[in-house]
């Protein structure tokens, strides 16, 4: 089944979820290493892969949003408290906002720093702001702050998925796994 239904995720939605989950975890590792490495070719290499992956994530999230808007969203299990529903909606919204805002603030840092860059050596990345040191510094600060927020929301997201599975014993986690297109 390709399309989502009222209680199941289709294959494309699952693919988007897990591919982007893997990319985002790799991206966090690359970003943390790039920022903390001493100035060296290795640091520049790490930044190159971090920036390329970031632009890939930005492209994927655009497609993912289109797919999400074109499909029904499986309903949350019945019996969830109002605060749980609100927390689920808010954390999903935040994840989407962060998947867009993190690459864009990174893009601003790169543009303001005037660093020539081609995504995966292929696509030249146009500048979205004029070169300016203070803009670069401010955007880097925002980028770091958004990353801290992402870490918190990801922890909540993963924690909530595990809670649904092991404590509440519902299908929320199971139905996002590959190969479980039919709900029991």
């Amino acid at each position: 089944m390709l399309r989502n239904t009222a209680d199941s995720w289709g294959a494309p939605a699952k693919l988007f979820h897990w591919v982007m989950a893997a990319l985002i975890l790799a991206q966090i590792a690359l970003g943390v290493m790039a920022a903390s490495w001493r100035v060296s070719p290795a640091k520049l290499e790490l930044f190159f892969w971090h920036k390329s992956t970031g632009m890939l994530i930005l492209a994927l999230v655009a497609l993912r949003l289109l797919w999400r808007l074109a499909n029904p969203t499986p309903a949350l299990p019945s019996g969830m408290a109002a605060w749980e529903r609100a927390a689920a909606r808010l954390s999903h919204l935040l994840l989407y906002v962060l998947m867009i805002a993190l690459p864009i603030t990174g893009w601003i840092v790169n543009s303001a720093s005037n660093i020539p860059f081609r995504i995966f050596w292929l696509v030249p990345l146009p500048a979205i702001v004029a070169p300016d040191e203070s803009t670069a510094g401010l955007a880097a600060l925002v980028h770091g702050g958004l990353f801290a927020l992402l870490a918190l929301v990801l922890a909540a997201h993963i924690g909530a998925a595990l809670r649904h599975h092991f404590v509440k014993r519902n299908t929320v986690l199971i139905r996002m796994l590959p190969g479980t297109s039919r709900t029991p």
Binding site: P41, A42, L44, E45, I115, P116, F117
Partner: protein
Amino acid sequence: MKKIVALLGLCGLLTFALRPAQGADWKMDPAGSKLEFVATFEKTAAPGVFKEFDARLRFDPEKPSGSSLDVTVKVTSADMNIPDVNKEIRGKDWFDYAGFPQAEFRSTDLRRTEGNRYVARGTLSLKGVKQAVEVPFTWTGSADGAVMEGELTVKRGAFGIGTGEWAASNVIGADVKVRFKVKLRKAG
């Protein structure tokens, strides 16, 4: 009196005739001149300029033999338009501003290759390394002067620009393009 005038005239004639065949002296007009270098970062062009440099030339485009070219570059005036990079290139691994603030190119072998194209064979002294370099250029004369323009590729490794772990060329490429446009006026 007539004799003296004739003698002076003869002297003048002799001076002119005995003067060795050589071109005019040219001075650079910094306002119309530019010296750029293009490094590569992850296979993407990373341009920079040397803001301060000077070229002196003795050159006759019709008779380039006997010409000479002398270029001095204030290496410390390098600007790659990225604050972090500008900080980095000062250091010993790169240009080593403290040790080698100036670079030079000297040539006494200028030849015409075809039409308005010439080549200056000479020695580039950069970061304490002297190496034979060929600088091709075009010469465009005008009423108030001339313009020399050209481009060459320099291997940064040959001059120790980027030492140690930076010598590897996968992140910062081995080739650096040097582009120049020099506006000249006849001196004197």
